[in-house]
């Protein structure tokens, strides 16, 4: 449509870059425990990667990758992971979100909480990226109104 969207250079660069952005996003999510980063930052970057793709290749192409229904389900899934972890702690006899109570490695609660923190960060990442993508699609595309489901 616009000049930028037709430019071969931009299209090629975006096509090459997007997978690396997504990879970096996953790295940021998983790296949250040891350094700066975490579910939010990673989720936002992941969303930004998809948004970049959709900006250059068009909203419809973006929606082919992540449809509205999938997006909605992903947003719920991330929160389910988080809240599910919390409930798992309750079932294991602890308080809500008391990671140490989960009997994964009975002798080392700190190690358990390390893994569960990673797990929870993944949940946050999924929700955040799904919501960011859905926000962009909704705000930017008049045509999404008709194309709903």
């Amino acid at each position: 449509m616009s000049r930028i969207q037709e430019s071969v250079i931009v299209r090629t660069v975006v096509r090459i870059m997007v997978p690396f952005i997504l990879l970096f996003a996953l790295y940021v999510i998983m790296h949250g425990a040891g350094g700066p980063g975490g579910g939010f930052q990673g989720g936002v970057i992941f969303g930004a990667g998809i948004i970049l793709y959709a900006m250059i290749y068009g909203i419809d192409a973006g929606k082919k990758k992540i449809s509205d229904a999938l997006d909605r389900i992903l947003a719920s899934t991330g929160l389910t992971i988080y809240a599910g972890t919390g409930l798992l702690c309750i079932i294991s006899g602890g308080m809500l979100l008391q990671y140490g109570a989960v009997p994964l490695l009975p002798d080392n609660p700190a190690e358990v909480s390390k893994y569960l923190i990673d797990f929870v960060e993944i949940g946050i990442g999924i929700t955040v990226s799904a919501v960011m993508i859905s926000l962009f699609f909704d705000v930017s595309s008049p045509e999404s109104e008709e194309a709903e489901e």
Binding site: A69, R72, I73, A75, S76, L79, T80, A83, G86, L87, I90, I91, G93, G94, M95, L96, L97, Q98, Y99, G100, A101
Partner: protein, 503 residues
């Protein structure tokens, strides 16, 4: 540990987590079948009602409940504290939420067609936000849930009248963001001078630095922020439009609950974060609040008389009713505080009922202008009886719950030797009669020419049931005000004023 004991331990947190989980699973439920979300919401709200009821019973029988989230001792982690005050408010939230949820089925089909699934999801998240604000014992956690409830409220209001609804919602958003930012600022100030975020811990740490200007500024920011949230008089500009143009379901839940929770938060911060000594004697904040509330009572009632749109009239009357609650708190004597707290229950019941009635009239006739209501008394007798009872309660006729709370407020004013407040309460009751009389006059004695063609046409059953229950409760608590007063409010106001806050 048996399953039952396991659940019993975690009931305090389930009051918040259940609507949360139900809220984000609603899109999936709606994806399975579009008719399911209504049943889903009813189920969720019913379970939440049982949970909060059980919590309040536990508090009455065995004292304050502490729940350590994540198992961390306060102040390191976040703590949930349920005492009489928030147990009571939570029960109101759950109950009004359930009533409105039942009512919403038909009304949403008409007013928000085709969007019921996300609407219910947002509705449940609103309940989550209000619950979380109420239960929490950590001021930053309070802020997070405050934002959940605000965001959902903006979305719900925007679903109302085309154009007007969105503009009202945007204005509310700007005001709400200012309010939330002030509250965040106040939290930051308290953290800067104490290093803590836990309410109980703050209450221990603060008295030694009450001379600090930072603490005073924090209190000022909290009070301004909450005043915007409850729509206290000079800061009420967002409220009439928002209540008028929201869908009737949203009006009922927002008018019934949002401002009550705001008032609760004000009480909580005044008496449980700061101490009565600070708010009453050192800063005179209680006096300021009482006078502002008295002003709101008069101005709200006067402006209500000038309205012809029924929802707008109810919105202005909300401004004056909020004044009653805050007046009671500002009086800071036993009987006045009891009156103010009882008015939380009272106003939630009757204002919710009135908005539901307005919605039912709109559903059947499409009319909101009260001068066109002629003859509705014969067309929709049950609905109009509900309206009559709720309005009488609003005026404060003996035998309704409104009478009891006004009576206590007047006694409290006399005890505080503020005779002017007694006069204001009487004056406002007269003004209430004036503006409700116009409606009664049209409904029962007017000649039906606008809606002549209609036969006797009562609202659908799913709308009638919650309205009738609410009206019945207005009368029930009017006749048996002893129960809430004796079991909850008397010990509560003693704790609030006596020992320096809720234990």
């Amino acid at each position: 540990m048996t399953g039952f004991e396991l659940i019993a331990t975690h009931l305090p947190v389930l009051a918040v987590v259940l609507p949360l989980i139900a809220g984000f699973l609603t899109p999936i439920v709606g994806w399975i079948d579009r008719r399911l979300p209504w049943y889903w919401v009813i189920l969720a709200m019913f379970v939440v009602l049982l949970v909060t009821g059980n919590n309040l019973m536990t508090v009455i029988n065995s004292g304050t409940i502490h729940y350590k989230l994540g198992g961390w001792d306060p102040p390191y982690g976040i703590e949930y504290v349920i005492d009489l005050l928030n147990g009571f408010v939570c029960l109101i939230i759950a109950f009004i939420g359930l009533m409105v949820a039942i009512y919403s089925k038909e009304s949403l089909k008409r007013e928000v067609p085709g969007k019921t699934t996300p609407f219910y999801s947002v509705f449940l998240l609103l309940i989550t936000g209000l619950m979380g604000m109420t239960i929490t014992g950590d001021i930053f956690n309070f802020y997070v849930f405050l934002e959940i409830s605000s965001l959902t409220a903006y979305a719900l209001i925007a679903m109302g009248d085309r154009g007007d609804g969105v503009v009202a919602s945007f204005n509310y958003l700007i005001m709400g963001t200012v309010a939330a930012s002030f509250i965040l600022l106040g939290i930051g100030y308290l953290y800067a001078v104490t290093g803590s975020l836990n309410m109980a811990d703050l209450q221990d740490l603060l008295p030694s630095i009450y001379e600090s200007r930072v603490v005073l500024a924090a209190l000022a920011f909290f009070m301004v922020g909450f005043s915007i949230k409850v729509g206290l008089f000079p800061l009420h500009a967002w409220l009439p439009d928002a209540y008028t143009h929201a869908p009737s379901t949203a009006s009922a839940v927002i008018a019934g609950l949002m401002t009550k929770v705001g008032a609760y938060a004000m009480i909580r911060f005044m008496f449980s974060v700061f101490t009565p000594v600070f708010v009453i004697d050192m800063t005179r904040m209680a006096d300021i609040l009482a006078w502002a509330a008295a002003l709101a009572i008069v101005v709200g009632s006067v402006l209500a008389i000038a309205q012809s749109d029924i929802k707008r009239m109810l919105a202005y009357s909300s401004i004056s009713q909020i004044g009653y609650i805050l007046l009671g708190i500002g009086l800071v004597n036993m009987i006045g505080v009891q009156g103010g707290l009882l008015h939380i229950l009272n106003h939630a019941l009757m204002k919710c009922a009135l908005f539901l009635v307005a919605g039912a009239i709109f559903y059947r006739t499409g009319i909101r202008n009260l001068y066109q209501f002629q003859g509705l008394g014969k067309k929709m007798p049950v609905t109009m009886t509900v309206f009559l009872i709720a309005a009488l309660s609003m005026i404060g006729v003996p035998g309704t719950v409104g009478f009891t709370s006004k009576w206590y407020l007047a006694l409290g004013s006399i005890a505080a030797e503020h005779w002017i407040f007694v006069f204001i309460i009487l004056l406002s009751s007269l003004l209430n009669i004036v503006y409700f009389w116009r409606v009664f006059d049209n409904i029962w004695f007017g000649h039906p020419h606008e809606i002549e063609h209609l036969q006797r046409d009562e609202a659908p059953l799913s709308m009638l049931v919650p309205m009738v229950i609410l009206a019945a409760l207005c009368v029930f608590f009017g006749l048996f005000a002893y129960y809430p007063l004796h079991y909850v409010l008397e010990p509560l106001s003693e704790a609030l004023l006596g020992l320096g806050g809720v234990p």
